[in-house]
Subunit: 386 residues, 2 copies
């Protein structure tokens, strides 16, 4: 299967990056996955199947594991290395014998040329600090981390954090990727966002692509990465529609308006963001998955069913066993940006989601648009259309 | 609520088209709706609420009704005009007292300046023939008819049929529009596609827009109209995924690939088609609604559950009381176009849907893409990206 680019210049790529090329051992890339939760384990499985198959990669895939002692008294890394399964975060799935769990972060990355970051986003700052000066000079990075903090000055892109802290270039991979479904090899797609180095993007596409996991690369890091965060705000809106039993028609309209606001928000913050990115797996497909299933949608549905009488904190505690909803905090952060920049009326859906979450508006406000139609003219300068 | 255009030059529109303008009676537009089924009745209701409110329209909305005798012995038109309800096709909903049912097609259109066509697509050729020479010279038309025949030479656009037969210009209105949900005033959106006359498009937007039905105009008749037909092929694919219980992740991927093929197919046939059209209600939103509910999806799900052992004809007869599935015939017609033009491998999803429908491939083939990845280079010439 040929890796897919949005424009087709792949015939100009050097042969060293093509599948099955005959590079010497010296040029083989060594991959380390930083993170070993549910998605990190599935990513390791995908990668490990390709490093065995493609001669341009070392077979071994090192996976950094935050060490835990299991109820049996054994260390998690020991069990992963003995059974070839992450018994805690992805039980029942063989990762590939070439996956080696390593509890020592510095050791795990020291020989790597390709670093795959896939941890909860709040851990990344600490991890980057520990890795300063510990990675190879020629290392390439990719972030699979969805969700970021959106500060008043703008979003804290994980790819930027990695680039700046480690002095390496960093791509991102996002998409409609429910880890457990990919683990059992159900068909899915993903999008790699790259900044300027197309050859590196092509190499990431090779590393992740399988017949059931189709990866496309687009030259738009910010657009791809923002999709993975902003979709959670739309999922909250979709959950409200479900809770109010407004039907599929209304839900589709809300998802569409949400996608439009994701696009407009991203383009206002980063003029390099492309419309076409939102047609990719990271855009429309991830939005659909998240608005059909997903915990943001589910808790928002319960919130609307209770007519906002129970708080999100309360429902989260009951329904999510201590996990927090990304969508609610992202909605608050996005609201602060909109408010700070005077953009509130351009983004009626984003703004309304936050106002419902904090109890200033009832859930039914999500479909009351007549007074809040975005003033298109204000967006005209920075978007081709809206 | 201001009508929405994709680019914002509405301040340049003449004031005669603005809401509540003070035109003399001579300039008032008179609207006739040709068709009175489920969607036609809802369209009449939307329009009738606006002709009362806006001084640029005559209050009366004439609705041509294919006359039927009800079990009570009364004529359908008499009952509609007495009760203000279409008791057969939209029971329980008041259409507005200014809706007048008329069983005489020629009489219904004779004074109209604005004609709204909303009948089953197979009746349009006959209706147009009857109307030749019977409509005013200054008449404007719009088609709400989803579904068209796709001949080997290309699609038979209903808007083109109307334009050519009647010598009038014709817009289209499409979107995520489940008639019964709009009838009870659930929030929804729609898209008007226009060719070149922006003022007329603006007038159609005014005529249909309500606080719960938000209409946007885009300059792309073909793109908007093709969405309404091609989405049914994707809904068949989504139904297969549901029947195979592949999960939301796979379903989202299939919907995304479907949207991409809708876009690519439309752009190959009409170079004027715009990518942005597929972000509108007629594109992504109608696709979502159709792939979540809808009879194409439902029967395809049953087909896949039976592993293709029962034919579509059989399942349709059992599940749809004599109605035929648009998606199956459209898939066949599209397949013939692809085959005729040598484009089969560019459209793996469209091609596979047809091959599954006719029993040449099993339903599971819908997610077996590795061998059939579209050759992007062939599309490169006619699309910005794919």
């Amino acid at each position: 299967m040929a890796p897919a680019f949005e424009d087709n210049n792949s015939e100009t790529l050097p042969s060293s990056f093509s599948s099955g090329s005959d590079d010497g051992v010296l040029h083989k890339s060594k991959v380390t996955v930083v993170g070993s939760g549910n998605w990190g384990s599935v990513a390791s499985k995908l990668i490990a199947s390709n490093t065995l198959r493609l001669s341009s990669f070392h077979d071994e895939v090192r996976m950094w594991v935050f060490e835990e002692t299991l109820p049996s008294g054994e260390k998690l890394t020991d069990v992963i290395n003995r059974t070839n399964e992450n018994v805690k975060y992805l039980p029942g799935i063989k990762l590939g014998k070439n996956v080696v769990a390593d509890p020592d972060l510095e050791n795990a990355v020291k020989d790597a040329n390709m670093l795959v970051f896939v941890t909860p986003h709040q851990f990344m700052e600490g991890i980057c600090k520990r890795l300063v000066g510990k990675v190879n000079g020629d290392v390439e990075a990719i972030s699979l981390i969805k969700g970021m903090e959106v500060k008043r000055e703008g979003p804290c892109m994980i790819s930027t954090l990695i680039s700046e802290q480690l002095g390496v270039s960093c791509c991102v991979l996002m998409g409609a990727n429910i880890a457990n479904e990919i683990a059992v090899e159900k068909f899915s797609e993903a999008t790699v966002g790259y900044r300027d180095n197309r050859e590196i993007a092509e190499k990431w596409v090779q590393l992740f692509s399988t017949p059931y996991f189709m990866v496309t690369a687009v030259q738009d890091v910010e657009g791809v990465e923002l999709c993975g965060t902003l979709k959670n705000v739309v999922a909250i809106a979709a959950g409200f529609v479900d809770g109010l039993e407004m039907g599929n028609n209304t839900k589709a309209a809300i998802m569409r308006i949400g996608l439009r606001e994701m696009r407009a928000f991203s383009k206002l913050l980063f003029s390099s963001v492309k419309d076409s990115t939102f047609f990719e797996s990271c855009g429309v497909a991830d939005l659909i998955t998240t608005c059909l299933g997903g915990r943001n949608r589910k808790v928002a549905e319960a919130f609307a069913k209770n007519e906002g009488k129970r708080s999100f904190d309360d429902l989260e505690a009951e329904m999510l066993q201590g996990q927090k909803l990304q969508g609610v905090s992202t909605a608050r952060e996005v609201y602060e940006v909109l408010s700070h920049r005077g953009w509130l009326e351009l983004f009626p859906l984003f703004a309304t989601v936050h106002e419902i979450c904090v109890g200033h508006l009832p859930p039914s406000a999500i479909v009351e648009y007549s007074e809040r139609k975005p003033r298109l003219s204000l967006l005209e300068g920075s978007t081709q259309y809206y």
